[in-house]
Subunit: 324 residues, 2 copies
């Protein structure tokens, strides 16, 4: 039986991942024990053993690791806007638990006589990059984050990379594009509007756009994000050749292009529901984010995203659209 | 009075830095209070208040920061070979103290009502880079370290960069080339032989060369390294434009070229004292190190190194040569 741990298992991606695991299994195994750890869970959530746990509290990660999961999806995180506003909380939640997890896994590895080497899939982010940017960011571009969130993710990548090189975990960090269209309520991520300007108008509700229409960004769907996680869990990591952080594929498009796609999907009435209300704080954060990538390695390794933003909207309508 | 703290102040670079400060002052100020923190000090050491302290022990960095130094040179570190052999000691010494220092400085900053913003100069290393490498490493190349030492240095850079962006320290990380020729006894650094093959033969003693003559590496003198530190302490950090980690200038040369320079300085008898004794462990570590750089930013910002390896040998003879 394959034991799977998902931190952040109550969140949007964690729940979609758990739902997938419940139906399809993982890495060819259909008999799974899936533990979902989070500070809270939706009513009627996806299948799995729900464990209420705050990864930022010392001891939580050790406790979760004690069960020797075969595959760990470490998704738990404070989002970018919150990490920027609350420095201590950001580092305590986004950095310290990775260190504690790796130390706990080292102990388990040693206790097993070197037998136990879990796969750890970490959701990093394109926020590890900071400008000035080339037109397209290649796989060899430096990580010079301009947000605390990005710095925390980059630190975790380094820790996971080193522990993997030493051999008591088999880790991979996937740098997610901004995930869009997120279902449900807005969260505190500075990137939340990328979902809001599509999701709200599809429901006949007004959405606030806090940045210029010319803002270009790198996005992929929640379905693609879950696909990245599953692919990372099953990847032959020797193919990574020691570079265990990967820029994921996505779509580069402007807010204007996204709104055009909204128009094609839902008409001019929907488009009129996007209200411009510039927010200097959000504009400042978003201006530090990358806009376009050339994710050659990830594509060669079999990671796949959408072809265009119209497809991203279709996926939202198929997977998540609920008439309110 | 300018208060200066040097962690690793008992080490080779720390002592040279302290000796310089004693004679020349810092940043135009000749009235200094220099605190040197280290686990030990040489007899007849450089001027400064010697504080016996192990940065790896919790509370040490907070205690050192409590005096609100204006300039902090954070040099204390376990060397690469030791960090590779003793994983826990490496992370505890090379990473955790940086976090504790920054948290202590944040507290001091807040207690001062935002007045106190110390300059922090951190000695990072070209070990933050891992192969495969381009012929020359540019300023935009990714940090994919292949040693624990490199990973630890890269993590510290990210922490210092984020704290600096938030504004309670004014930090700069300088990525030192391998420093050569080191005076005195060999240390446990895997790079120690780069100094040994020059220093020992100059004294008529045999030196072991554990790698191939074709190995190419990036080096600068101790004098240049102290110069980098002093320049970093006085730099207008707004010129860094948010990228606070800098590749320092140096010289790219092969072991063969270094031995040729030794011959020009000390004759064929000295050259014959270099004994080839390949060490697979050291060859493995060294093979992961970068060989050549194009440190455009650092040069533009006024950092200066030597012109050739002959000059590096001359500097050793001028600054450190002692007939044994």
């Amino acid at each position: 039986m394959l034991k799977v741990l998902v931190t952040g298992g109550g969140g949007m991606i964690g729940q979609k991942l758990a739902a997938h695991l419940g139906v399809h299994g993982l890495n060819g195994s259909s008999v799974l024990q899936v533990t979902l750890a989070d500070i809270g869970f939706p009513d009627d959530g996806a299948p799995g053993i729900e464990t209420v746990a705050n990864v930022a509290e010392t001891g939580t990660m050790s406790r979760l690791a004690a069960g020797c999961p075969d595959v760990i999806f470490h998704l738990a995180s404070v989002v970018s806007g919150e990490a920027e506003q609350d420095y201590a909380k950001g580092w305590d939640t986004n950095m310290s638990p990775m260190w504690e997890l790796l130390e706990a896994l080292r102990e388990r590895h040693e206790a097993s006589g070197g037998e136990y080497v879990p796969r750890v899939v970490f959701t990093s982010s394109i926020a590890v990059f900071g400008g000035p940017f080339p037109d397209r960011i290649g796989d060899g571009f430096l990580t010079a984050p301009q947000t605390s969130y990005g710095a925390q993710k980059a630190v975790c990548e380094l820790m996971l990379g080193d522990a993997s090189r030493k051999g008591w975990v088999d880790g991979i960090s996937i740098r997610l594009p901004t995930v869009c269209v997120r279902p449900g309520k807005p969260n505190r991520a500075a990137s939340g509007f990328f979902s809001g300007i599509i999701r709200e108008p599809l429901n006949g509700e007004e959405a606030v756009l806090p940045v210029e229409d010319t803002v270009r960004h790198w996005v992929s769907s929640p379905r693609a994000a879950v696909g990245f996680l599953l692919h990372a869990a099953n990847l032959d990591t020797s193919r990574l050749e020691g570079r265990r952080s990967l820029n994921m594929p996505g779509i580069s498009c402007t807010v204007a292009e996204q709104i055009e796609a909204l128009g094609r999907a839902a008409g001019a009435d929907a488009v009129r529901l996007v209200r411009r209300e510039p927010d200097p704080e959000i504009m400042k954060i978003v201006s530090t984010w990358p806009r376009d990538f050339e994710p050659t390695r990830a594509i060669k390794l079999g990671f796949r995203a959408e072809r265009d933003f119209d497809q991203i909207i279709r996926i939202y309508l198929e997977d998540d659209y609920v008439i309110r």
